[in-house]
Symmetry: C2
Subunit: 260 residues, 2 copies
């Protein structure tokens, strides 16, 4: 049985302001909650139906501060999902420290003003698939702990570091360290013909505006995904998360040994 106060407090974490103040966020779904428990991430509140709780080993719940058994109806009250799963957890924020030079030995993604939570989640997922470990978001990107970001990134959330940082500073440092900055721009060269490295920054821009004007000068390698349609395709550009998937695929294919 969940108290009214606690229900209100969990719902309040849907707001970024409250998450920032409390330094807490919420995850939902049997699979995701289980992955956090298996990865031994400290959990402040675990709120779940008995059938979920009964599947957990003592080892998995060692870092759970408080557990509460609830009914489906109670879960529905505090969930952001239309049809909630069996479990929800409140997690303390634990952001890794950003050590810029660490990023420069491999491929790192920089996102400029990505607004849509589904896009950020999908990009995290694609990065995880292609073994990209770090994403640096401009400080005006959508919040990583937005429930829709977490939902669409699935478990990838746990395997990719996402930082928020001033991209001008990041790109200045890249420039000083002679690290290439690959940016998707309309006037770029076809990604299929361009030499792609296994280190550098892949800079992707906002959903409708692309890379912001003030960041364009930092781009050392202008690339694009050319359209193959012989007629008007009816769209000006690919969605940023589709573009990210294709760009990551091209980079890894060209610069890494291809797995079986």
């Amino acid at each position: 049985m969940i108290s009214k106060n606690k229900a209100r407090y969990i719902i309040s974490l849907q707001k970024k302001k409250v998450r920032d103040e409390e330094q807490l966020f919420v995850i939902e779904g049997d699979k995701l909650v289980k992955e956090f428990l298996i990865a031994r991430i400290p959990v402040k509140n675990l709120i779940a139906k008995p059938e979920f709780l009964s599947t957990l080993s003592p080892e998995m719940t060692r870092l759970v501060n408080e557990t509460e058994e609830v009914t489906y109806e109670e879960l529905k009250q505090i969930s952001t999902l239309k049809t909630p799963h069996n479990a929800l957890a409140v997690i303390p924020v634990n952001r890794p420290d950003l050590d810029i030079e660490n990023l420069f030995g491999e491929l790192t993604v920089a996102l400029d003003f990505v607004q849509d939570p589904g896009n950020l989640g999908t990009i995290i997922r694609a990065a995880a698939w292609f073994g990209i470990r770090n994403i640096v978001c401009s400080t005006d990107c959508v919040d990583l702990y937005n429930p829709k970001v977490i939902q669409s990134s699935m478990g990838a959330f746990l395997h990719v570091n996402v930082f928020y940082y001033d991209l001008r500073k990041l790109l200045t440092a890249a420039c000083e360290n002679k690290i290439p900055v690959f940016g998707t721009l309309l006037e770029g060269q076809s990604i299929y013909n361009h030499k792609l490295d296994n280190k550098g920054i892949i800079l992707l821009g906002n959903e409708s505006k692309g890379i912001s004007e003030e960041l364009v000068p930092y781009v050392t390698e202008k690339i694009k995904i050319p359209g193959f349609s012989k007629t008007k395709p009816g769209i000006d550009s690919l969605n940023v998360s589709m573009a990210a998937s294709i760009v990551f695929s091209e980079f890894l294919r060209k610069s890494s040994p291809i797995p079986e």
Copy 2:
């Protein structure tokens, strides 16, 4: 001023059952509505704010049956969007006839039980970008005229034919015509190493179940997008629309002249 009856009737078109009965669907947004008008698609009702209507030429509104000027508040009542744009239109369904053999001279996408409207819309968008003109959906896929499909496909909707058809029949015909069927399967060969043609069927499966068991025997070329992560990526697979984007990119890159 829109009557209560008409508002109710437009809202009712959010339901597939009503769309099927009435053979009508709704599009929203200045850009999309304008593209339909420019493409001379017959429009049953054009419902828009005066500032939108004043930008239309007589040529563009020739095939509009009925035009209604509304306020933002009225538009908000009938819209599926939280923050509606300036225009909405009701369009008579006009499905192209499916001529199977026509599909076999080029790359065609077949979607098996794709359920999420955002995924179908994104796949239509990716197909348009890569010049793929035809998508055949299994009859249990999400409805093309679902507002979220239309919203996420953007203008690509007008440039790709989407059919609903029994995929067993389609794939049997492909087999009889010696047309390759490329299917994404866990045991497939890396798409980066596999020979990809400029004709054939690209078969993509359901979001969580993949290609259904009964269709697997029709797959003549088993392919997959290998993960490049050296550690567990936290996900079992890519989302179907990300996978589609990458697969289309690989097919076109390998089988077509690369545009500038």
